[in-house]
Structure formats: C-alpha cells, structure tokens
Assembly symmetry: C2
Homo-oligomer: 430 residues x 2
Amino acid sequence: MNIPRTSLPRVVIIGGGFGGIALAKKLSKKGLQVVLLDKHNYHTFQPLLYQVSTGGLEPDSIAYPIRKILQNHPNFYFRLAKVRRINSSDKILITNIGTIKFDYLVLATGSQTNFFGNKELKKQSMAMKSVPQSLNLRSLILQNFEKALLTDDLHKRDALMNFVIVGGGPTGVELAGALAEIKKGILPKDYPDLDTRRAQIHLIQSGDRILKDMSERASEKAEQFLEKLGVQIWKNTRVTNYDGKTVTTKTDLVFETATLVWAAGVHGVTIKGLSAKNLLAPGNRLKVDAFHKVIGVEDIYAIGDIACMETKDWPNGHPMMAQPAIQQGESLGDNLVRLLADKPLLPFVFRDKGSMATVGRNKAVVDMKNIRFQGVFAWFVWMFVHLFFLIGFRNRMVVFVNWVYNYVRFDREARLIIRPFKKDYSRFRD
Amino acid sequence: MNIPRTSLPRVVIIGGGFGGIALAKKLSKKGLQVVLLDKHNYHTFQPLLYQVSTGGLEPDSIAYPIRKILQNHPNFYFRLAKVRRINSSDKILITNIGTIKFDYLVLATGSQTNFFGNKELKKQSMAMKSVPQSLNLRSLILQNFEKALLTDDLHKRDALMNFVIVGGGPTGVELAGALAEIKKGILPKDYPDLDTRRAQIHLIQSGDRILKDMSERASEKAEQFLEKLGVQIWKNTRVTNYDGKTVTTKTDLVFETATLVWAAGVHGVTIKGLSAKNLLAPGNRLKVDAFHKVIGVEDIYAIGDIACMETKDWPNGHPMMAQPAIQQGESLGDNLVRLLADKPLLPFVFRDKGSMATVGRNKAVVDMKNIRFQGVFAWFVWMFVHLFFLIGFRNRMVVFVNWVYNYVRFDREARLIIRPFKKDYSRFRD
C-alpha cells in the first residue's frame, strides 16, 4: 500500500462518509498518522441522492473528492481500496491493494440497503444509497417513459409509467414527492403524445404511518402534502416480493410496475473477521461502548451507521443518519487524542438536533427539540440546512443555482440517460 | 414506433447534434411532421467534452435533454433509437424500435473517432467524442494516479502518470492544456506522497504544426503556450500502434503510457443501405449537392460532419465542426420549407466565422476573418463564445459558476471516479 511506517501511531479509518470524514478532520495535526480507505474517491452527500435520481441535480454536485477535503492535512493518506478482511489479533487489514497494519482501527463503513435476504427482490429492485445507484434509477425512469411511447398495450404502458416506492422514511417520502412534481410539471411537456396523467406513484409503508421516526404531526402533514401531489400512500402494507413485473404484498394487493425502489431499510456493512454474531446488534451493527470501542475487541472502534451504542435514551442505538455519524466522528477524534495523551476519555452524548424531510417542490416537515413546523417555511429551513452541510463552496453554488432554476421554471434539466441502465449489469450497482 | 401518420409530410432526422437540432428548430411550426431519432436522449455540446474529462465540468452541464429543446414544438416527435438500415427506394428506416416511413430523410449522424482500421489501437486507446467516453477518460486518469501510489516500480509509476495525446487539433490541444494545469495546480496537493513532477503530457502530431486548420500564427502561439505549461510536443510523428503499454511510431520513438487519447481524426457515421462507395467522399462522408441532397438518391439529405459538399472554397467539404453543421441545418430547414411551397431552393453558402482553441487556464488562440489574436483576451472571447452557444440558461449559469470557481481557486472539483473504467467494458464506450 506504500504508506511509510513512522513513529506516529497509525489510525486506519474504513469509509469516507459523514463519520469517517468528521473523524479524519479531527485527527489532523494531532501527531497521528491517519489512513483513510474508501471504495470511492469521493464523499457522497447521501441526503440529496434522490435529487440526482430525479434529474434535479448533477451527481458531481453532491459528491466531493476525499483528497480535496483533506488536502494540506499532514500525515494523512487516502487509498482507494476495498477491505476484504480484518485480522484483529494481529492488527492487520487485508484489502484489494495489499495489507496494512494498524494501531487503531475505526470502522465507518456505513450501511447498505437491506433486502431481508430476498434475492429476487434484490435483483429486480432499485436501491438509492450511492451515486451510481441513483444514476441507474434516473436512467431507468427516463428509459421507461421512452419505452412507454412505443407500446400500444395499455397494461404494459401503465406498468412502465407506474413507480412503486417501498419504505416511508425520508428517502421514500422525498423521492415520491419529487416524482410527483415531475409527473405534474415535466412529463406533459416532454411527452405530449403520452397520457401522462396515467402515471402513478405509490408509496408503500409497512407500519401505520410514514416518517415513523418523526412526530405524528410531521407524519400527518407529510401524508397530506403527498396526497395533494397525487401520491398514493399504502400503509400497513408489507411487500413480499417483486419479480420485475409484479409487486406482491402480504394481502391480495398487487402492483404492476417496471420500477420498484426499495427504501425499506438498511443494515450495517460488516467486514469479515469482525462480523461474529456476538459482536452484532440487530441490523448488523457493531455493538460499541460509550467511547465507540467495539465491545469485545481492543483498539477497534466503530462510528456512524455501522455502530450501535445502546443507551438509555437510544436503546436500539442512534438513528442511522448523518447527524449522529458526524457527532460520533468528532467525539471519537477527541477521545483518540485524549487516549494518546493519557487523559481520561469522555463518553459520547448525542445532541439530537431534530430531523426533517421535504415533500415536493416547496413543502417540508421539520421536528426540532422544542419546535415542530411544516409547510413552506419548513422547506426553506430544509434547503438552507442542506446547503450548509454540503461540502464545498462550488457545490453549494451549483446546487443553489440548480434549485433556484428548478423552482422558478418548474423544471429539472438533468434528465439525461448518460449510461442506460440494464438490470443485469449487477457489477455496476454499488 | 407509434408515430401517427398525418396528412403532413414527414421529415425524419437522424441525429440530435448541432446540425439536427438546428434543422428541427427551423422546421417547427412549418406544416411538417418532424421525427428526430438519436441514440442518446440529450444533445451534447462536444467542444467542452475535454473539460468533463479533466474534472472541470459536470457532464450534465454540457448535455441538454432533446425533448426539452423541442418542447412546445407541435408535430414534433423524438424517439430514442438506433437506426440499423436505410431502405431508400421504399423510403423506410429500420431501427431497434421498429420501422418508420419517411417522406424526407436527413442524415445528421455526425462523425466518430477514426482509428484507421487499427483494431488494437481502437481497443486500447481512449476516444473523447461522447459524454460516456469523456467520463471514462476522467475515471481512467484518476484511477491511474491512485494506482501510481501503490507501486514501487518507478518505470510502471511513470507510465501511469504519463499521458499521450495523439492529434494536434483543437481537442488534443485543449486536453493537453487542461492536463498540464492539473499537473501543476492539483496533483501536488492531492498526491503529496507522489512525485507528480514526473507526470508528463505528450502531444503527438503527424504533420509539422499543431492546429493545422488555423493560421500559422495561431499554431506557433499555441505551441508556445503549451510548451510553457510543460507539454511535450512531437511533430512529424506518426503513431503506428498502442498495445496498452507502449506507443510505437514510424520512427524508433516510443512512449510508455497507461493512457493514450486518440484525437487524431474522425470519419463520418454511415448507415447501412446508404454507405455504397460511390456515395462517399474521403472520410466516409456522404457527397451532397449545394442543397444538401445526397448525390444519387432522392429525398435524402445530409448535414454536418457526415455531409461533404465539395465547393470551390472548400474542395474537401466544410470543416467537421459545430459552426458549419448549425448553418447547414438552418439552410436545409429553409430549403425544405421552400420545397414544399414550390419555391426555388437557395444553395448553401458557408459563412466562416473563424475558429479558436483554448490552451490552459487563461490563454487561447482565435482566428477570425479579418483579425487574429492570441493570449488572455482571446481566452475571454473563447469563454463567452462557448457560453453563448451552450444551450439553456441553467447550463450557462452552472458552467459559468464552475469556470469562475476553477479559475479563482486553481481547482477542478469534479475529480470523481463515479464509474470506474475498465478497458474491457467495450459496450460502455459509445
């Protein structure tokens, strides 16, 4: 891997998501050698992936080169690598680009879409956890409309224009809202020779309300906003399978569609050598103590989605979202510095700043600690929070220009099929 | 193909490049049915592809959805299709989405990279004529630097950091300049553990000057600008082969490189059924008369790169560039309308507005009819001309923001490997 071994203790971080980047920044100039490994050379701002899928934003605007984030950080090494195995007793990582010894290891591997073991579902449905996946979804949506034009079979045409989104969390809600706006504002103009009113957007939720991790008021309002946009919400409905044509559920409800987006859950990305059952909490997450140390092994830590710290307030671990990941990265960074200075460690305390989701072109729901609001003002808050957390001045500017343009013009210009999506290109799906 | 046959005469245009789009716009609201076919659902602004390759621009900023360009044009139909064969006697096109009858057919199929029949060269080298190709090149460049980090073999590392560009036309010159700027401004910061001074950019030209279609003064100045940037220019050098490692030439000069960009020529994209030798001029271009009618067949026209109109001023046809294509599209559009109104046709007259090429971050060379200039002012002219011709307000804004940012910060933030490039993924190369 060609990383010089110096007298500095070496921290290896696996994953350049919100947690890994926050940690790496904290460790800069602290007398440590930091090695960051990721399978992509960029950090992804996942909360806006649905806008890439729906042609509202360019992929490059929500991705940021990791090397650029950590330019001018001395003793920092980035390597584009996939980690194959962890040897925790010898403190060695085996990767596709060689092996590396670590003094401290931090897993910030995040989470991936959970298909609950259903292989057919996994093969046939679309996920939206990475930039390539989001681009695939964008291509598929556009290809379906192009195909719908070519058939006289009304049944087939409807299936091509129907979109089924499984999972009523923020991803599902935001995607459903964006698709509804496209149906209203863009399809009739782009496809005058197609009766686009027949396009349907179905949002399926297994529980009895969408946005179940937010307040009941937020759920209610989000449902209202979505219904006003024409989205069909199916609650208490559990999807059992999808064969590429028909979505089946636990009841006799079925949907015919060429596009199923699976946003019904994620689970942690574990690595061989550190995936024994006794280390894991439900959802494939590594159990960690209050200092993010993986319980049962030494000098190995976990932060972000992959980590599960069971506390009184959060008995099932913190939410698998950007905010806890960032705070955990910062907390662990401080603690590693304290550890090396022989100072006592400080247990992690999560400061929950609330959560939010946007619905359609100018509505959102926001839950904060002491205040909850919904509607247009919430949407402004949503926008500015997302612009603020986006990394990089250029990205902020470009996203802002796009948003203003899309808003004023009721448009989304990035409706381009740059690489056509074919279902069997499985190797292009991560 | 599901296009209604009406009483209006039907014009089918193959290709949504500069020529095809200019023609389609002219034919709007003129009592014709217009069917535009393209294998992509977007128009590509090819002059800026090199900026996509070098991480300066997002692909979406220089591509524009064809449906959007022709929204609100009545009797206009776009279909995403690949044309397999032309049956000129029955006036039928055979495509991957079915057959279509035409009253008038216009080939605006453009050109593709010409490897002069060398299959190994074609397989191993990179072209830059489409958005996916440009993204592949971007990925390869970045992957090479990531790989260079991993090897101790100095020879191999140099090969990974060397870039060989074959062809000293505007594409080769602009790409060489951009790579030189990256070498100077970005690599040392991104790869502090790599001696990036060893990276080399070679520009190979078979003739005795680069930019051979411009004035001698422009060639000289462009050479000076490139040399100042550290680009090595090899004139009178003809590349014979590239096996993926070694570039051989007609002399004993060889180059070791992992990246060969082939910008040494293009030839027309012909379609079966209309590719007989007697119809073609050198460079696989269809011979057309002064009204763009393909010589020897009725009701079939050709414009842009695929068309070769031999005139006194342009004995080998007009330059294969955007400007003639746009003018030809407009001229043919007017003539088709005149034809249907039984008015006499007007022969095409090319108004040469000159040509230009940019070199590095703030230099360019410009040849206009009565005035030639080079340097910083020429670069301003280059920028504004390109912004002006770019389609769409949003694209202009986003490109402008990126350019200002890149200029001020000496940066190019889109250095993302969204889809890793592997040489054998040949099906992803068009």
